[in-house]
Symmetry: C2
Subunit: 180 residues, 2 copies
């Protein structure tokens, strides 16, 4: 059975710096009408950066949760930007390390009920220090944890950020299989 | 260093069935002003349901992506609803199986830059069939895959949904440690 929902009309409710909100009228598979509310997002790029068996984690305040989190370096794609290029850009901005190459770890759909965001996750293991380049108004702190410490933070639930949890498991999976 | 961002004012831009959008003026740690755009969400509950070494996956159309996905059974919390109760409710609605108990696997922040959603993920291994109870306007199909098949779908990237990927790895991790 085909579950496709056909667009009848589309309305842009809000156009922001991060979030564009749309409300569409759609036709469901049985011909009835419904509405879909969703965010159009340019996509995210994230980097698991491992250097001398240490993982770079960024501590930052997440306003929506009202708390500080530990996450791998990440950011929003500029419109039309290549995800790999965006990942390497964010790595330099947030950690001060510049890399020329990365490996693909995963693409994820963070919460498919109301966003079209794809988060592209990469692995970087070789990079040189060139100094941090934080965006204006960006407050964060990068620190390093052993892979063992990182694993404990994921497994205990201290780290809840989806891209960071998935980066950890995808990396460990590949490492255990000798692919890395 | 404390990175807290203080709310100056908050504006509700849109109040929908799934998504409430807010734009807040905030004071950054250095005293400058900025804006935060974010979704207030009642939270999600999801269930990894394993029965006779098979995993229940729900195939459904995700309008924002314009494609069908495979995900573990899940849904939105009713306001104030207990996440565990919501997870068991969604399990019955989408698979037709009723369970009286579940185990906590993980809480995740799907995309912390612009939502306050928490997705609560549980494991159910014992349930009885009582018949499906889909919500009106809900079109989906539940089918069963061996854990090995499920693992291949996650590892190959065929499954990109964050909660489903994390449920797989958290389960395998606990199983490999003999905790399940």
């Amino acid at each position: 059975m085909n579950f496709e929902e056909k667009q009848i009309s589309s309305r842009n409710i809000f156009k922001g710096r991060v979030v564009d909100l749309y409300v569409d009228d759609v036709e469901l598979p049985d011909g009835t009408l419904s509405r879909r509310e969703y965010i159009k997002h340019s996509g995210g790029a994230a980097v698991l950066f491992i250097r001398e068996d240490s993982v770079a984690l960024v501590r930052q305040y997440r306003y929506a949760y009202g708390e500080e989190t530990y996450e791998i370096p990440a950011g929003k794609l500029d419109p039309g930007e290549d995800p790999e290029r965006a990942a390497l850009r964010e790595l330099t901005e947030e950690t001060g390390f510049r890399a020329s190459a990365c490996r693909h770890l995963a693409d994820i759909y963070p919460t498919p009920g109301y966003t079209d965001e794809v988060i592209f996750i990469y692995l970087v293991t070789e990079a040189e220090f060139v100094g941090e380049h934080l965006d204006e108004g960006e407050f964060l702190n990068c620190s390093y944890f052993t892979i063992d410490e990182f694993g404990k933070m994921v497994e205990s639930g201290k780290i809840k950020d989806a891209k960071t949890v998935i980066a950890y498991y995808k990396y460990m999976d590949k490492r255990n299989k000798g692919l890395i």
